[in-house]
Amino acid sequence: MADKVPLLLSLAVAIFALGLLGVVVRRNVLVMLMCMELMLNGVNLSLVTFAHQTGTAVGAVLVFLIFVVAAAEIAIAIPIVLLLVRSKRTLDLDAYTDLKG
């Protein structure tokens, strides 16, 4: 499976890049959150690949940590988004400019 490493890494980068692009470009708040998850998963994939490459378990352990933290983070983020949406009544991120100036 060693020869698959470059492919896997490229895939990881691709997923990360797509997620990053999505965060920067997309206006829908929920979609942005999903893209952030994509980024996280891209990183996860690369971690697993490296873990396999070096033969240590460090990467895999880290992946589990990231799962948990990501889950917690989403658990907080979605309600915050919900509250924000409730006041502004739109999912368009560009409407949230209260921190201007």
Binding site: V24, R27, L93, D94, Y96, T97, D98, K100, G101
Partner: protein, 625 residues
């Protein structure tokens, strides 16, 4: 005996404090007793000191206390009493006491009675500090102090803005002179390390002489004298000073304060003997002032103004004497002038008092019979100032004229000529004053005429005393008395024979002046009135004092205000300095505003920045890896 000099100085100070703090509450009698009594006591103490001096031979010195010790320098407050001081102190306390007594009657109705006597005593205190001080520092304290007293007394009726302004003018013009005086003092101290006048004189008389130009010091000190003694160019305060009560004019602006400059130069004769250039300047300024003021006096119509310009003119005479090295003679004239000028001023005060406040001589006339004592004393004093023998003024003026002509130290025919011309004018305008005030038909308003009354005894007695001294005072030869201290200059050998002829000329001039005045102003100024239209222009020029005050205003006062306001305040402070500051602050605010526009509140933009930033960091790290 040890502290008598200090006592002389402190007595009037006590008077000031008592009358100033408690006077209004303790009533007129108390104020009078303290206000007049203490100066009289001071006079008696002075007499005692003179006797002691006579017996001792050496000058009396009293050290009171040390004002400051800094490093090697010590500044003591000490008093010094020699023959010159004796003459001055006797005049100050003697004439001073007389004028205090006169004031009792003159200021009786004034509600500021206590304040008046407090200020007058304060003046006396400072004047005594001035003449008794051993060092220039103590003299300067007195010098400034009399300026203060003068300011307070000229502006005594301060509710009148004009009068208050006159006081301010006096103080400030004096200060200009004082600036020169200070620099002169500084030069002396920097080179000699002392301000004690006896030591300064000794240093200049010793050989080798100090390494400083005596003339430089002489001129600087003289600048101070021009301020205090009203010479060109700083005389402009004196005529305005007539706004104060008349006894003040008599005391301060005739007999004592204005003579301070003369005293100072005589005291420091050690310097001036070695300063021919400075002495020349003094003589020239003196004679020009004398002549100039005399010309103005002939056209004045306020009785006190005539006397004011006359004072300036007579002071000029004193400076002429100083300038040609005849220091003792200058003091002699100071002494005689104190008597007749005080008599004249107090006499004019008596006239004003009699006429319920009228000061314009065009509205007087025919007073000779109505106020005889005032008239006689005034006439005697007038004759004295004109230089008619054997009155006091004749002796002193004559000596001045002689030395102006013949002194080895700067006497010249030109100097004499101008001085003699001034003497002629003096006689002329003084007798004009006498005629217009006391002779002819009355030109007074009926109201005023109705209330004419001779002044009370407190005033007339003083007039009589002063008139007597104006008459016989000349017989005591001050120059001779001061000879050991202030030697007379040598007269040019080839001119000795002209001494007597010159005396005759002086007398003739005086008589000429008298005659001319009688001619033009007798019979109700008939001839003068006829000639007036022809000389209207000249008369206006003289009456308006050659527009010197206006000139000073244009050249100095207004530009000063203009520069201070337009240049310094508006351009300098507001536009430049504050503008820069506010501009910097504004710049900071605008920059902050501009930079703040990055904070759009748009999360996408922030995310983009984060991305770009991290890319940049990565690149940076990449290059160095």
């Amino acid at each position: 005996m040890n502290h008598l000099l200090t006592l002389i100085v402190l007595l009037p100070l006590a008077g000031f404090l008592l009358n100033g703090l408690a006077g209004p509450r303790l009533g007129k009698r108390f104020v009078t007793a303290v206000g007049c009594g203490l100066p009289i006591l001071a006079f008696l103490a002075t007499v005692q000191c003179v006797l002691t001096l006579n017996a001792a031979g050496d000058p009396l010195v009293e050290r009171v206390y040390t004002w400051a010790r800094i490093g090697e320098s010590t500044f003591d407050v000490a008093f010094y009493f020699d023959r010159l001081t004796a003459v001055m102190t006797l005049i100050v306390t003697g004439v001073g006491s007389l004028i205090h007594v006169y004031s009792v009657g003159y200021m009786k109705e004034d509600k500021g009675y206590a304040r008046y006597f407090a200020y007058l005593n304060l003046f006396l205190f400072f004047m005594l500090l001035l003449v008794l001080g051993r060092s220039l520092l103590v003299l300067f304290v007195g010098w400034e102090g009399v300026g203060l007293a003068s300011y307070l007394l000229i502006g005594f009726w301060f509710e009148d803005a004009e009068k208050a302004r006159a006081g301010k003018k006096a103080f400030i013009v004096n200060r200009i002179g004082d600036a020169g005086f200070l620099v002169g003092m500084f030069v002396l101290y920097s080179t000699l390390g002392t301000l004690d006048m006896d030591r300064i004189n000794a240093a200049f008389m010793a050989s080798p002489m100090p390494a400083v130009s005596a003339s430089l010091v002489g001129i600087l000190l003289f600048i101070g004298a021009t301020g205090k003694s009203a010479q060109i160019p700083l005389y402009v305060w004196l005529p305005d000073a007539m706004a104060g009560p008349t006894p003040v004019s008599a005391l301060i602006h005739a007999a004592t304060m204005v003579t301070a400059g003369v005293y100072m130069i005589a005291r420091l004769s050690g310097i001036y003997v070695h300063a021919p250039e400075a002495s020349q300047v003094i003589a020239v300024v003196g004679v020009l002032t004398a002549f100039f003021a005399a010309t103005i006096a002939i056209a004045q119509t306020d009785i006190k103004r005539v006397l004011a310009y006359s004072t300036i003119s007579q002071l000029g005479f004193m400076f002429v004497a100083l300038g040609v090295g005849a220091y003792g003679v200058a003091i002699f004239h100071l002494y005689t002038h104190a008597f007749f000028k005080a008599c004249l001023f107090l006499g004019s005060g008596s006239v004003i008092h009699a006429l319920s406040g009228e000061q314009d001589i065009r509205k007087m006339g025919g007073l000779a019979r109505k106020i005889p004592v005032t008239f006689v004393t005034f006439a005697v004093a007038t004759a004295a100032i004109a230089g008619l023998p054997p009155l006091a003024g004749y002796f002193s003026k004559d000596e001045i004229l002689w030395f102006a002509f013949a002194s080895e130290r700067g006497g010249s025919p030109l100097l004499w000529g101008l001085a003699a011309g001034t003497a002629l004018l003096t006689a002329f305008y003084m007798f004009r004053l006498l005629w217009l005030t006391f002779f002819g038909r009355s030109r007074m308003t009926p109201e005023v005429e109705h209330h004419i009354h001779e002044s009370p005894f407190s005033m007339t007695s003083v007039l009589v005393v002063l008139a007597v001294f104006s008459a016989i005072g000349g017989f005591f030869s001050i120059p001779h008395f001061l000879e050991p201290l202030l030697p007379m200059p040598e007269a040019k050998h080839e001119l000795h024979h002209l001494e007597t002829p010159l005396v005759v000329v002086s007398v003739v001039l005086a008589l000429l002046g008298l005659a001319a005045a009688a001619f033009f102003f007798g019979r109700d100024a008939e001839r003068a009135n006829r000639l007036r239209p022809r000389f209207a222009g000249l008369q206006k020029l003289l009456y308006d004092k050659y527009y010197i005050d206006e000139l000073y205003d244009r050249l100095i006062t207004r530009p000063l205000y203009w520069i201070s306001d337009r240049v310094f305040l508006r351009i300098g402070d507001r536009a430049l300095l504050d503008g820069t500051l506010n501009g910097l602050a504004g710049l900071a605010q605008r920059t902050a505003g501009a930079l703040g526009r990055v904070q759009t509140g748009n999360l996408h933009l922030y995310a983009l920045f984060v991305l770009l930033g991290s890319l940049a960091c990565l690149l940076l790290v990449w290059r160095h890896v």
